[in-house]
């Protein structure tokens, strides 16, 4: 397993379609593709938290209840290109990448904050690993750790994707998020064992 260099990234991006690493669109390859990473842009849809609608988040309360409560807890906002999105200090918002990605089975990746935005306090991902075989737009967990509100715009380069090859024979990736094109609500309720750890029906403890 090794980190892909700029030259290798270009090689994977130019392969025939079935074997290609797809990042579409790369609006400006010169500015976006670096030694070892590709810059990703912010998309137009955001998922916000409606704190007043929800007393707390207990992930173990059963799939149906949790599903409904997550939908109630979060809501979507869309912005046009050139329209501001203000991220306040300590606010967590889900955003998405403008780019749609398709990873071949032999490539994995990590999404990281771009350091220039990180220095302003913007963290863009807490769940950073991208599985080989993933297809879709990535959901970014945007968090402002700074002390002043940050003005964001759809299209700005906030994240970087670090790519690497996979050792051994690649398997088939199965994700609970099927070809997302926008940020997705959490589907933590699909973790079967959550109920056991939270409220088991019959337990020795």
């Amino acid at each position: 397993m090794g980190l892909l260099s700029k030259r290798e990234i270009y090689r994977w991006l130019n392969k025939e379609l079935e074997k290609r690493l797809v990042i579409t669109p790369i609006l400006d390859p010169d500015e976006q593709i670096h030694q070892g990473s590709v810059d990703l842009r912010l998309s137009t849809t955001f998922i916000l938290t409606q704190k007043t609608a929800f007393p707390m988040m207990d992930a173990t309360q059963g799939e149906q209840t949790l599903k409904e409560e997550i939908q109630r807890y979060q809501f979507r906002v869309s912005k046009r290109p050139h329209e501001q999105f203000i991220l306040h200090p300590q606010q967590l918002v889900l955003g998405g990448t403008l780019e749609y990605l398709a990873f071949p089975p032999g490539i994995g990746g990590y999404v990281l904050s771009r350091s220039s935005w990180g220095r302003l306090g913007l963290i863009i991902a807490t769940a950073t690993f991208v599985n080989p075989g993933f297809k879709g737009c990535l959901t970014l967990e945007l968090l402002n750790l700074g002390e002043v509100p940050l003005v964001l715009y759809p299209g700005i380069r906030v994240a970087q994707l670090v790519l690497h090859t996979v050792c051994g024979k690649p398997g088939i990736h199965k994700s609970r998020y099927q070809f997302p094109t926008e940020p997705e609500f959490s589907r933590v309720y699909e973790d079967e064992e959550l109920e056991f750890w939270g409220k088991p029906k019959d337990s020795a403890f």
């Binding site: 270009y10 991006l13 130019n14 379609l17 079935e18 797809v22 579409t24 669109p25 790369i26 609006l27 400006d28 390859p29 137009t44 979507r76 906002v77 869309s78 912005k79 046009r80 290109p81 329209e83 403008l98 749609y100 398709a102 297809k135 737009c137 299209g155 099927q178 070809f179 997302p180 094109t181 926008e182």
Partner: protein, 468 residues
């Protein structure tokens, strides 16, 4: 005017003003709904000050509350229905652009409606007319200066928001306002005289007064039938010019939901079978469909293996559709009806003129050449679960594609690759169609952003801007 009425009117204006001000700040996918909401706020402000003004006459001030409730309040639903949340947001700007190309000087507001229907409605003219009596001329003119010459709300069935493929029907609605332009170039007197002659042959009533009355009523009814038939044909033709074969696919999807393929509807719309037959003929004339084999034209000589099966399935679908249009039960129905037969005979004679008018109204036509260049590559992308936003041979050898190609590839993918899934696993079929719609809406968004981004001036090494 008594104070009860005055206070009531003032309150209505205030409520509508507040409501429009709230709507104005909703997130919209384009600027047009904000423009209209601002206009409504301005109208309310003017009317409120008119009611407070000492020179406002009783007549005007009595009419103001009626105008507010009857005319202004109902228009708020268009603004609300145009928010990003309620619309297929990425499709809105391209649809507005098509509208502005077909009807220069007009603007469009894409919004949802709860009726299962696509429709179009002009928002400016009636307001302009009715406000004339309520505001001084200078104020009236200043208000309407802020609005485009014509502003249309084009509505889609709310629960079809994400059904990007079906929204090809927007092109049909955009074309409806052209009706008047077409009709003014027809010799209406001669048409009515001809229709009258045909109607007279049928009405055998001996009482002269009753006969005259019956002839008059049937000529009127027949003229409306003729007009409705021609106008649907005009809009379908324009839709075919703008979107090519997708116009047929989308029309068919709506037609399948109708109670009858053969009857003229209560609002005098022609039978669906009649419209499908006509649009198929237009596609043959535009060279999208082979008139002998009823197969889709425009495929490259060598179709990539991953999508080669799509061609056969789509041709099979077209063959079935051709058989549907070969059945003439709609024509039998029309032939039996009076004055349907007379109206449709007259409409038939006008069809070439309607088609010519439609062709001349579309400046940016979708052609089989564009289809051939773009659609197979986009189909390959859909097959690989990628958005069909661009032909990307390599990272640097790529090019933008047209909205019509994105939608055509999606339709072919649905008919050729997804339709067979329905017979195997209905749940999987629904999921795959939903994914297709998501990919198409994403592709439209990306294609728009790519086109805009390419216009961006870039800095050269010495810091001076250069064209991308």
């Amino acid at each position: 005017m008594n104070d009860d009425l005055r206070s009531s009117a003032f309150l209505k204006a205030e409520q509508i003003f507040e409501h429009s001000a709230r709507l104005k700040i909703l997130p919209f996918p384009s600027l047009n709904p904000t423009l209209f909401a601002t206009f409504i706020c301005d109208v309310c402000e003017k009317l409120k000050s008119r009611m407070s003004s000492p020179d406002g006459g009783d007549r005007e001030t009595t009419l103001i509350p009626i105008f507010l409730v009857d005319q202004i309040a109902p228009t708020l639903r268009f603004i609300e229905g145009a928010s990003s949340e309620n619309t297929p947001a990425s499709l809105v700007v391209p649809v507005e652009r098509i509208g502005e190309a077909v009807l220069p000087g007009s603007k469009f507001m894409v919004c949802r409606q709860w009726r299962y229907n696509y429709s179009v409605r002009e928002l400016r003219r009636r307001l302009e007319e009715d406000l004339k009596g309520l505001l001084p001329e200078a104020e009236h003119n200043a208000l309407f200066k802020a609005l485009p010459e014509r502003l249309f709300a084009i509505s889609f069935p709310s629960f079809e928001r994400d059904n990007a493929l079906l929204h090809v029907n927007f092109a049909h609605e955009i074309a409806h306002p052209l009706e008047r332009a077409y009709l003014t170039q027809e010799d209406q007197t001669r048409i009515l005289q001809d229709l009258r002659k045909e109607v007279e042959k049928v009405i055998a009533e001996k009482d002269r007064v009753r006969r005259a009355r019956e002839i008059g009523a049937n000529v009127g009814h027949g003229a409306r039938m003729r007009q409705a038939a021609l106008m649907e044909v005009l809009s379908d033709t324009i839709s075919a010019h703008v979107f090519g074969p997708s116009a047929l696919f989308a029309l068919h999807e709506v037609a399948t939901l109708s109670r009858s393929m053969d009857k003229i509807s209560a609002d005098l719309h022609p039978p669906w079978r009649f419209r499908l037959r006509h649009i198929l003929k237009v596609l043959e004339e535009l060279d999208f469909v082979d008139p002998r084999t009823f197969q889709l034209r425009g495929w490259p000589k060598e179709i990539p293996a991953s999508i080669s099966h799509v061609r056969g399935k789509v041709d099979g679908w077209l063959h079935n559709l051709h058989q549907i249009t070969e059945i003439t039960t709609d024509i039998d129905e029309i032939e039996r009806s009076f004055p349907g037969k007379q109206a449709y005979d007259s409409a038939d004679r006008a069809l070439p003129a309607v088609q010519k008018f439609a062709a001349e109204s579309v400046t940016q036509r979708y052609t089989p050449t564009l289809f051939s260049e773009e659609v197979p590559g986009l189909l390959e992308r859909l097959h690989a679960s990628l958005p069909p936003n661009r032909i990307e041979y390599t990272l640097t050898n790529n090019r933008a594609v047209r909205l019509a190609s994105i939608l055509a590839s999606a339709w072919l993918f649905k008919l050729g690759e997804l339709a067979p899934v329905f017979g195997q696993d209905r749940h999987a079929y629904v999921q795959r169609v939903q994914t297709l719609n998501r990919l198409v809406l994403k592709a439209i968004q990306l294609s728009e952003i790519q086109t805009e981004y390419a216009k961006r001036p870039r800095k050269q090494d010495n810091g001076t801007p250069k064209q991308a």
